[in-house]
Point group: C2
């Protein structure tokens, strides 16, 4: 394995840019995964590994052998280069540059179960928590529209790998995507902050369905609201009617999960 | 109003340290609030404002007058000094150094309703989301034990002011605090990841009660677990049994809120 020591090495610089810059990820169709667990998860999830970088003292780790073997190229690197590639305070010493799934191929949306759709959720921690909860609650997939990049390193880390394991599809136009789903038998449930909308807990929950969560500040767009079969809300007894997007999503997915036949 | 221009000014340096350093906040019993809304919220919540710093072009803002009036000292400052005091990418131009509530005075724990207790929740975003949900779900107060500082600027911001409005008490020894509460008639509900524990949705929810959420990685401590009247769990149909602490807390508080008499 070739050992890299220079932070001006082209491959290192590309990895650093992919870690820090969403437009670079989009342009190249590549992203960076950091850490032993997440790299193994990316491989298991079927992502092609373009390049693996492993800190010299970790190269012999048995758990890394499949990742190193699967990568088209693998390099050992200095600790210093890990800091160049990582956006975390304590770099983990293992990095994989992976090929992104084709974002425009919406053939990937599961044809049944419960889907979660995110309308312009911007915060990587919220995206991560939503997808993690979706996986825990047995949702069949996630549609991420006009929001945070699913390959954002912070989101990948915070999702504990859910973003790699779950079927996640990007949608350029969520409203028309919802209409298509509605036409194929999905019931479209859209969450709003509106005391007059149906209460989430009283709601009849049909399957297949898609459940839409809106942007942190603005909620769902008017177009998405119009595409709803059912508008619903989380009743809040407190004085401030305000929940973090991921907290609202958790309550909503929990209620849909409870209504599922397996439960 | 005196105008400050030097970032080596002692007051500016103190504010910057208070924003970035939890041990400094603890030592001095002071914290920094940033932004027009949060500063007004701190004043409304009864915090003493030691010093207010306002960017020169904002000094005339009507909404800031009560804050400036209430502060023991108020200064106008250069934009550059705002960047010194802020931990945010885009400083808001209004800062208040406030006197922290007495953390050891546990007389502040509300004597009824539903309390949320956090056992070593470390992430400021999780602390913020938990307290925000607690407020929205009509909880009466929060006990924050051995975890993230409630005066962390990131947490204050993410909580949308809930951390200033809600009764939040620090507890050095949560297990003994829970025993005290149990002795005064509170039922102690402790959340665990354990398929054999009672399901949260089937649970009889008595009031007054205290509901305990554990650390992000380790869950609740053995001592806290032993102090429980009821152990409960969130059943998860998905393959990975894993929820973000704030997502789990949201589901739990929602279930307790639904069981409340007002609902």
């Amino acid at each position: 394995m070739i050992h890299l020591t220079s932070s001006s090495n082209e491959r290192i610089r590309l990895a650093a840019r992919l870690a820090s810059d969403g437009s670079e990820r989009k342009k190249r169709g590549l992203f960076v995964v950091e850490g032993e667990k997440l790299c193994a998860e990316a491989l298991r999830a079927g992502y092609e590994i373009d390049t693996a970088f492993v800190r010299a003292d970790l190269v012999g780790l048995e758990s890394l052998a499949p990742v190193i073997t699967a990568a088209y190229s693998a390099f050992s690197v200095d600790e210093r280069l890990c800091r160049t590639m990582s956006d975390a305070k304590t770099p983990q010493g293992v990095f994989c540059v992976c090929r992104a799934a084709d974002e425009t191929d919406n053939g990937g949306i599961p044809s049944g179960g419960c889907l979660l759709a995110l309308d312009r959720v911007q915060n990587p921690d919220n995206l991560a928590a939503c997808v993690r909860t979706a996986e825990a609650m047995g949702f069949s997939g996630v549609i991420a529209a006009g929001g945070c990049d699913r390959y954002n390193p912070k989101a990948l880390r915070a999702s504990m790998g859910s973003l790699l394991r779950m079927p996640v599809t990007a949608a350029a136009d969520l409203a028309s995507e919802l209409e298509k789903l509605s036409n194929t038998g999905f019931t479209v449930y859209v969450s709003v902050v509106d005391g007059k909308a149906e209460r989430i807990d009283g709601l009849e929950k049909k399957r297949p369905c898609v459940v839409v969560i809106g942007n942190e500040g603005a909620g769902v767009s008017d177009e998405v609201r119009s595409a709803a079969d059912v508008l619903f809300t989380i009743p809040m007894p407190g004085v401030t009617e305000s929940l973090n997007a991921a907290a609202a999503a958790a309550i909503i997915m929990w209620e849909f999960s409870k209504a599922a036949p397996h439960n």
